[in-house]
Symmetry: C2
């Protein structure tokens, strides 16, 4: 069965197309990235979002930014590459994968033994394609390892969007679902709408629906009720960052889902490519929680839904303690408690991004 899933990033060999995710699900618009400035704005304005997808987009975006400069002498071309990479890197300072991708491309340029700018350009295209392929392979591996968790007839809950839209492949949390679906396993997905920005309603339910997965949209406060009614057998979410001890930082609301799952004896898994593991954070307590703008909570679209001047809390993330996590689905297999030991064993604990 061929999967029909949206492609956040499409590289034709010489052109980069990005899906404008800010318009979803109302309009499906793929934009050809004519200039590096377009890519910069696409990242800045969240047209492309999610750590892996940003890293891949930036690698191809850099190619867009250097392809017309291969007539420069090699030394000047390398300086140009570094400048363009630094420019793209400035589009979203907190995106770890963006910085990592730009460092990798520039290091490649500097360490390359190319004899000409044209030759170096070709090597960098290959490097960007390698970054893209690695991301696709990581998604697929998480899918293969995670799919056996999904048994026939199960109800699977997910929170926020950790789907194909945030990667160049089949997503992180969605990867096991897509692989199980391709294997012909019948199951149901419940997608939390994920206030305030509604990634679950706008993105997750859209991409799963497109792929033909049986998906039902719910408001965040319904998940516990469905659990109590026996409709949910498994939870899989993504993550923004996992501490060395297995504490999971993810979209606000994830921790509540994990505690409710624990209460109802429902397994709670987190899809977690190794790039998301932050061995520098000993525990989740060290992960800083971003506080976002108040108007995300007080309005919807252009319509104000709360009284003028009302105080608001708007933490973007919460931290799920490791004891509520049944397992981390990584590209090297499912890691279980004790997480500190098992993560360090499976991955090089001293690696940095």
């Amino acid at each position: 069965m061929k999967l029909n899933i949206p492609q956040a990033i499409r590289w034709t060999g010489d052109e980069l197309y990005l899906l404008d995710q800010t318009k979803l699900p109302g309009e499906v618009v793929e934009e050809k990235q004519e200039t590096i400035e377009m890519v910069w704005h696409a990242i800045k304005q969240l047209k492309v979002r999610g750590a892996p997808a940003i890293g891949v987009s930036a690698a191809f975006g850099l190619i867009v930014g250097i392809r017309d400069a291969t007539n420069l002498p090699l030394e000047k071309f390398i300086i140009h590459i570094a400048k363009q990479a630094a420019y793209l890197d400035s589009s979203r300072p907190t995106a770890v994968n963006l910085h990592w991708s730009m460092v990798r491309m520039v290091n490649k340029a500097k360490s390359q033994s190319a004899n000409s700018s044209a030759e170096l350009y070709k090597a960098l295209v290959e490097e960007a394609e390698a970054i893209d392929q690695e991301d696709k392979a990581f998604c697929l591996a998480m899918g293969e390892y995670g799919a056996p968790l999904i048994k026939e007839g199960m109800g699977v809950l997910t929170h926020c969007n950790a789907g194909s839209l945030v990667t160049s492949g089949i997503g992180t949390a969605t990867a096991p679902m897509y692989v199980a679906h391709q294997n012909g396993v019948p199951f149901r997905v419940y997608a939390d709408e994920t206030r305030p920005l509604l990634q679950g309603a706008r993105l997750t339910s859209w991409e799963l629906q497109m792929a033909g997965v049986d998906v039902t949209l719910i408001t965040d406060n319904m998940a516990g009720h469905l659990m109590s009614k026996g409709l949910i057998d498994l939870v899989i979410t993504g993550t923004d960052r996992v501490a060395a001890n297995g504490d999971v930082a993810n979209k606000i609301g994830t921790m509540s889902v994990a505690i409710l799952a624990h209460h109802f004896n429902i397994p709670f898994y987190v899809a977690c490519p190794s790039s998301t593991i932050d061995f520098a954070s000993t525990t989740g307590d060290e992960i800083e929680i971003e506080e976002r703008e108040w108007d995300e909570v007080t309005s919807f679209g252009s319509r104000q839904t709360a009284p003028e001047g009302i105080k608001v809390c708007n933490p973007a993330f919460d931290v799920t303690p490791n004891r509520f996590v049944s397992g981390l689905i990584t590209e090297k297999g499912i890691v279980r408690a004790p997480y500190r030991e098992n993560l360090a064993e499976l991955f090089d604990a001293h690696q940095s991004r």
Copy 2:
């Protein structure tokens, strides 16, 4: 300190004014009810909402519907009263207090020993005013019993709107907050926005803000996170129906809040006038959960936020098992477990509405 809270229902002695709650918080519009048809539509269209407020509105609405008919002979006037009451009763068939209020008014008319239609009319105005006064007194009593739960510096979480807007008094869940506020106790309230209909954002945060209570609006999925950060010391919600064993049916999401509060050792109280106790329901399992329209979840205002054709769940209520309830704040005092015995003892278990 005089409380500045919105009045859902205002009776001047001969005129009825209802606040149009569908326009809140953007517009504050009080509508003079010229005819019984206007009252019928106000109830139907949820301009007035909440069991106690509907009961009181209907009692005064009946007065509006009979005030021009006192020239009828007494016998015909009584028939007219019964007809008008049946008409008003048809505006929202599932509203328990609406039916109860109409039965009480008609019984009063039939049992009255008035010598003239004018005399009977006067007695019915007094009955409607008695229903109104009783509701106000119940709210105040719940407030007095519940207020001591709120200590200086506490963070109090509430879900949905069980405020002054659903009663003719100071609300149910909000009553302890208003009394504590009047007593000069400083505390903070967190109001869950309460998807899908956002009663917390539109109504609770508005009325608490108006009263000068320190209130912060959050999305439903933030409550657990705030609990984990030690910001919430007490939860008080309202209820739509309490079973004889203390199981609590209330707005979707309440059960999840209760389980999370239990997990974090935070007391969870339910404000519950005796009119809400359904001794005919042995446990909460017998309470039917209304499933509402799908478009409440897929759109907001006129803006669609989910893909076309997406499947949706939309249960209006959930049932919180009695073991998660620290106490029921009633007009006769706080009732604690074992609920079946203690509720039956405090109230007449055989009473019917």
